[in-house]
Amino acid sequence: MSVDRRQFLRGGMGAAAGGACAAIGAPTAQARDNLTVPDHALGLLYDSTLCIGCRACQSGCKTVNALPLEDNVGGALWDTPYDLSPKTFTVIKLYKDGAAQQKDAEQNGFAFLKRQCLHCVDPSCVSVCPVGAMRKDPVTGIVSHDPGRCIGCRYCVASCPYHVPQFSYDTPFPRISKCELCKEQLAKGDIPACAKVCPTGATLFGTYRELTVEIARRKAMTPGATNTFPRRTVESGDTHERRAATYTEQVYGQTELGGTQVRYLAGVPFDKFELPVGMPVRSYAAQAETLQHTLYGGLVAPFVALAGLVAFAYRGARAHPDDDQHDEASHD
């Protein structure tokens, strides 16, 4: 019994040592920082204060992506579709409070918000996808989906902090659907349909850098003063004049989980649109991958642990060769 106990303790120390090796292996070296915005990243700026809720973007998106109409609110035709779905890659959502009299006012006001894929700088969906079906283009930063690789595990659906990827449950041959920033249109030299058809420039297409400058320009405007706003793209030359709204401090997508390439400006706080606020700057993808790479980087820790375990198992199997006896007994 005392021998057993000593062996037990020795085994315990061995296991603990293995665990310690695994823990201190190379944690700092394996730390995975947030990904950064690609040099030629493309994106959108959606300015809620310019949006008139006409939903031309939804229509344009459906046309270009050949998506069918849907009625998922039963009769309230103007409200359909209610949210993103396998048939709807973008949707204008309404915030309203009290009498809903004043646009872009938090109280007794209303405001619009365009839901779509935000094309994260460091996307969770790309990190979690076990088969590389979610990809972030290294040049444009567009997050796209390859159904040919997809196994339909829906980890992207579960992990997207903005609830964007949509899986179809009503078919035996389902797929994941989401906005891919009209990458086919871009390849043809065109721009994303939602920005192309937006009558007020509320949805504006451009490079990430151009849009950063445009965001700064708008934030510097004096509320109520007449200003010029471009339509379609920053440099299109197609502009219109209107009074600048009072913007909230936050630029949504500037820092959230390392930022997004689609960014929002608005006149009411973003939590009113049921968007997640207060998320850390460090991306969830970086957090999860740091943990995984610390434990499994180069399979160093697993092999060290395996060597220890096999050594103990060798001793254990020699100390208790009952297996052989059992087997002989069983085929007597």
Binding site: D4, Q7, F8, G11, G12, G14, L84, S85, V128, C129, V131, G132, P147, G148, R149, C150, I151, G152, C153, R154, V157, A158, S159, P161, F167, S168, Y169, D170, T171, P172, P174, R175, L257, E274, M279, Y284, Q287, A288, L291, Q292, Y296, L306, L309, V310, F312, A313, R315, G316, A317, R318, A319, H320, D323, D324, Q325, H326, D327, A329, S330, H331
Partner: protein, 390 residues
């Protein structure tokens, strides 16, 4: 196929087939449950996941993931837990418990891995997850999938001497036995890896998992609770099989009592980690301020604490009337912890809710029925359980 009359007599304490008729009331019931599940699976594959499940884009993972894989592989940790005790910590006296545990693990993990195919929307591509050029090493799910797939193979290699001896392949069985120590070591490493990664699956979900459950310690909490499940399931299965076959388990009882002690210590470690983590993250107040989730946390915690209280005193620990309820509560606690972490803690906004549909439940019940059925067939035909006078 086999009956008791042709079963070779084994010396007391050595593994022997239970024998008996494979077709009986229980096996017919299990087969009927399996048939019901197959009907709903037919509809699932013809009409789509939505035809039989309540999962949605708000709750994309339901019980086919949470029970069939995440909980079921926890139940299948008996082989892992006993191998750790017998071979790594060199406690040979527990050896009689290894074969039944290993058998349940091999069956449980095989079905846990296979049932993934029922839930995968694009199952025809499933092999991508194990194929270089497709798999993504950054993905927690890749680690889980690769590790479970490899572990299923290792489990059957560990099991193979039993089957080879039955098939009278003596030389091959002898060879396998000589190299088995390597697979035993691997068979302890792999579940340590993927049982912890099952918890890590939640880490990329960030704020969507309520702070009572979302923590960087998820991998440690999951692997600790998986080990507890492994030890508890050994007590659970031994008791049920003993009762079901009218077997005398008094020879195993002292061993089970000591397994109970291991569970008590592991549970204390789990609870220290659980509450220490909440304290360090400043989330202790959330235990009381999280509405329905507070209730679920409370129930879960009570179910973890109760087995400790039951198994801590020396004397009652040696009684099946204490061991069995304590092990059952322990399993219930770990089941609830996993359901809470993956479903109750999942925050998708007020417009989404999830509770499994009846067809969805019937499929999960069917998978469990198949596991039980397979286990019963194995112990009747092969020398797995310690031989006892009936």
């Amino acid at each position: 196929m086999t009956d008791a009359a042709v079963t070779p007599a084994a010396a007391p304490g050595q593994p022997a087939p239970v024998g008996g008729n494979l077709v009986n009331a229980l096996s017919v019931l299990l087969a009927v449950l399996l048939g019901v599940a197959l009907y709903f699976l037919y509809r699932r594959f013809v009409e789509g996941l939505g035809a039989v499940t309540n999962i949605s884009n708000g709750y994309p993972w339901g019980i086919w993931v949470v029970w069939d894989v995440i909980i079921a592989t926890g139940f299948a940790c008996g082989g892992y837990a006993m191998a750790l005790l017998v071979y790594i910590f060199n406690r040979g006296e527990f050896h009689p418990l290894v074969r039944p545990a290993l058998t349940a693990s091999a069956i449980g993990y095989s079905l846990g891995g296979a049932s993934v195919l029922l839930d995968l929307g694009r199952y025809w591509n499933f092999w991508h997850i194990l194929w270089p050029g497709y798999f993504n090493v950054n993905s927690v799910m890749f680690e889980v999938a690769a590790c479970i797939a490899l572990y299923v193979v290792v489990l059957w290699i560990e099991f193979s001497p039993i089957g080879l001896a039955y098939l009278k392949r003596t030389k091959l069985a002898g060879f396998t036995n000589r190299v088995l120590f390597f697979f035993i070591g691997l068979g302890v490493l792999l579940p340590s890896m993927h049982q912890s990664s099952l918890g890590s699956l939640l880490i990329p979900m960030g704020y969507q998992i309520h702070p009572l459950w979302q923590t960087p310690l998820l991998p440690l909490l999951f692997v600790t609770s998986a080990l507890c499940m492994g030890y508890a399931v050994v007590i659970f299965e031994t008791t049920l099989v003993g009762a079901g076959f009218g077997r005398d388990v008094s020879a195993e009882l002292p061993l089970l009592g000591r397994v109970g002690k291991v569970i008590a210590w592991l549970l204390v470690a789990f609870l220290v980690l659980r509450f220490g983590d909440l304290a360090v993250r400043g989330q202790l107040a959330a235990i009381f301020t999280s509405g329905g989730r507070s209730v679920m946390f409370g129930v879960e915690t009570l179910m973890f604490v109760a087995p400790v209280a039951m198994l801590w005193p020396e004397a009652p620990r040696a009684r099946l009337s204490v061991l069995f309820p304590a092990a059952s509560l322990m399993l219930g606690a770990a089941v609830l912890y996993r359901i809470d972490a993956f479903l109750v803690a999942y925050e998708r906004g007020a417009s989404w809710s999830y509770f499994p549909s009846v067809p969805e439940l019937m499929v999960t019940i069917g998978v469990v029925a198949l596991e039980v059925l397979a286990y019963l067939v194995f112990i009747r035909i092969l020398p797995i359980l310690p031989g006892h006078a009936r």
